[in-house]
Amino acid sequence: MADEPLVLGIETSCDETGVGIVRGERLLVDAIASSVDQHARFGGVVPEVASRAHLEAMVPTIERACRDAGVALRDVDAIAVTAGPGLAGALLVGVGAAKALAVALGKPLYGVNHLASHVAVDIVEHGPLPEPAMAMLVSGGHSSLLLVPDVTHDVRSLGATMDDAAGEAFDKVARVLGLPFPGGPHIDRAAREGNRIAIDFPRGFTSGRDLERHRFDFSFSGLKTAVARWVETRQRAGEAIPVADVAASFQEAVVDVLTRKALLACKEHEVDHLLIGGGVAANSRLRALAQERCDKAGVVLRVPRPELCTDNGAMVATLGAQMVLKGRAPSDLGLPADSSMPVTLVQA
């Protein structure tokens, strides 16, 4: 064994089967098989379809990861796996595979939190995390603001969405506009041609008592409804829908709220590093506005490349390797998959 731990990570919490391998803080491979195309016609991820796809993709993806990294399974020092949160049936496929590897190879197993993994992955992209760091996770299933003193065991939730996740709002609004699933990238593209101040859509929890009570929480369902209402009113009147303007104005409302609250959190908690992860972190306007506001506030912004923002195995391997490096004890072989694992529980 080289002095840096070689860790294989497995992720199956939603619709991507991900297997990543890292050595210490260096990414060797990030292999992915996605079932997203099988869900597109249903307008959302169908759990049973995702679980079936994970089963078929699991071993081929492990095999591809090892081959591409030039790693023999027997040389792996530890196995890490997403224990939750996520779709129960989907998680179980990854957990089953990870445990099988751990027993067959006689290696320790680390069951890790999906959200903490989204934060940890930036270590292989931009180096060690400052402690504490502020992290904002925005994906199809989550929108959270996290204060992270130590990503291997101390992650604190400052706030989260009270209804739709940011990515979910993108997907639902895309449907209203007749754009394909998943809608985020389509809205991002359409918005480039649009005027982001054309329509003044609501920004949830940003003023008055709402802001007091939900300082770092989010709400996007009111926004989604406002967009649907706006579009339907025009449609009823037989007017054409200015798709680019609606997309740009909706997107602006989302990223304005996200970045405002993230920077407010940095200021109030005196943290000068902000990390953004999750699928929505691929959004070009979010990246641009976050950069602008961070520069103004003297906060260092870290966003991993888009492939590492969406669900992947590399992030799980990265967090597993951090746990090995920090000498954390492995998980029990009897660990359950926990579909509603709280973000504050980093290891199962």
Binding site: R41, F42, G43, G44, V46, E48, V49, S51, R52, H54, L55, E56, M58, V59, P60, I62, E63, R64, R67, L73, A88, G89, L92, V93, V95, G96, A97, K99, A100, L101, A102, V103, A104, L105, G106, R175, V176, F181, T225, A228, R229, E232, T233, R236, L333, G334, L335, P336, A337
Partner: protein, 241 residues
């Protein structure tokens, strides 16, 4: 030979090691909602009991169902991954054949129905004939309401949990000595025994191809049902009321 047998198609999470002539270790836990928790510890447990290192395992056989999907997949993904990690063949067998073989090993002869819980008020069911030389399936494995099974099936002696769940429609009765025995759920020991017999009789069992991209012919779960999919509704609800 050290054949590792795994089945998670019924309420039992069951693992056994078979050395070619007998079961050297078996671990069975009844917990229909926690297959992933118990399976890997069960494998480690039988290896420890038999004093066998993982690297000494020569093959894996797994019950491919039918059974409730989530639990079933845990067994199959475990078998596939374990076999892949060690570079040994992985084979699949219908779990109902294992149950019929259990009845045969227990001395049953004649007609037999295997009926297991399919949830949603249905059973998975198959008819078998047990002769002096072994058990043989007659026809397909079905998923259906117990009341809709063929008339002559419903009067056969039955193994599996079907008769406990639907005593009014599965009338053949549970063979004596079955309740409380291992004939309600699959036993991996019987699965291993059946696989070894078929194997040594030269019968080709489906094998996972270990070549890259080789796929898993014969190791697919017997789902027997399409996934529940709720297509997105074509027309949206009005937001204007």
């Amino acid at each position: 030979m050290h054949l590792l047998a795994i089945d998670t198609s019924t309420s039992a999470i069951t693992v056994a090691l078979f050395d070619g002539s007998r079961v050297t270790a078996e671990s069975t836990t009844l917990d229909p909602r926690a297959h992933a928790e118990h399976l890997a510890p069960g494998i480690r447990d039988v290896l420890d009991q038999a004093g066998v290192e993982p690297g000494e395992v020569t093959g894996v056989v797994v019950g491919i169902g039918p059974g409730p999907f989530t639990g079933l997949r845990v067994g199959i993904v475990t078998a596939r991954t374990f076999g892949f990690a060690l570079g040994v063949p992985v084979r699949g067998l219908c779990s109902h054949e294992a149950l019929a073989h259990q009845a045969w090993l227990a001395g049953r002869r004649g007609g037999l129905l295997v009926a297991t819980d399919a949830r949603r008020k249905e059973v998975y069911a198959a008819e078998f004939t047990l002769t002096s030389t072994g058990s043989e399936r007659v026809g397909d494995v079905l998923v259906s309401r117990s009341t809709d099974l063929p008339e002559h099936w419903r009067v056969l002696p039955t193994v599996g949990r079907g008769p406990l769940l639907y005593p009014d429609s599965l009338l053949g009765g549970i063979p004596s000595g079955v309740v409380g025995s291992e004939l309600l759920d699959v036993s991996a020991g019987a699965l291993g025994d059946l696989a070894a017999r078929r194997w040594s009789a030269g019968e080709a069992l489906p094998t996972a191809a270990l070549e890259p991209g080789g796929g898993f012919d014969g190791l697919e779960p017997l789902y027997l049902r399409r996934p529940d999919t709720q297509p997105a509704p074509p027309s949206r609800k009005s937001t204007l009321g």
